[in-house]
């Protein structure tokens, strides 16, 4: 299941959805939240822009790549767009597999690719009212290197 949406999601509902087959032995979930502090400044709000159409296509491609590399029984990717505030949920990635190794790897792989390839952009509003577009982090590019196939 892939969804780009303005409304919030519920951890329990997404977990139960992933859990609905008896052959599942492992479920790994990742949830990304709006942090209150970024590079020392207090964040009050966040707005998320995306590229409708490409976003969904891109997320689907990333999940497809994960399925080719690991044994995945079910997966979910939800990414919110629009206006968010501190502690709000931004993104959910869940993977259900027979064994934990597949679930951990696929979940982290999906997040690492989403972070560098999926067309979302964050704009932060600081407590002093200033707004700024979030800069891409070098560590996100580096995170991809662990998925290189020799």
């Amino acid at each position: 299941m892939i969804s780009v949406q303005e409304h919030d999601f519920n951890q329990q509902i997404e977990y139960e959805r992933l859990k609905s087959q008896t052959s599942i032995g492992a479920i790994v979930t990742f949830t990304g939240l709006v942090r209150d502090i970024k590079q020392g400044q207090s964040v009050s709000d966040l707005s998320l822009e995306h590229y409708p159409g490409m976003t969904e296509k891109c997320l689907k491609d990333i999940v497809e790549q994960a399925k080719q590399r690991w044994n995945i029984i079910a997966s979910t990717v939800i990414h919110r767009v629009g206006h968010l505030t501190v502690s709000d949920q931004i993104v959910f990635v869940g993977v259900a597999s027979q064994h934990r190794g597949d679930a951990f790897a696929a979940c982290e792989f999906i997040m690492d690719y989403l972070k560098t390839e999926a067309p979302f952009w964050k704009k932060e509003t600081m407590e002093n009212g200033e707004t700024q577009w979030v800069d891409a982090r070098e560590t996100d590019q580096k995170a991809l290197s662990k998925w290189a196939v020799n």
Partner: protein, 82 residues
């Protein structure tokens, strides 16, 4: 026509989210980028200020891609979702 989209910081700086370019004026994305630089005297500085990412028909690419009528080309900053 070729549909050109700008997103996030780039769209704000250019003051433009979307424009249409006559497909007969540009053969490929290199020519499209040159064409965009001529549309407004503020734009060259913005377009050259950093390396913007490019997607042709919603696929990210760093190559110079041949363009046809009906294609969609988007320019945007490095992504920061998740």
């Amino acid at each position: 026509m070729i549909k050109v989209l700008f997103f996030a910081k780039l769209s704000e700086q250019l003051g433009c989210r979307e424009l249409q370019v006559n497909a007969e004026l540009v053969q490929d994305t290199e020519q499209l980028f040159a064409y965009l630089n001529e549309q407004n005297n503020q734009w060259p500085a913005i377009l050259k200020a950093q390396t913007w990412l490019k997607a042709v028909n919603q696929n990210m690419t760093a190559d110079n891609v041949k363009l046809n009528d009906g294609d969609e080309v988007a320019y945007f900053p490095p992504v920061t979702g998740g």
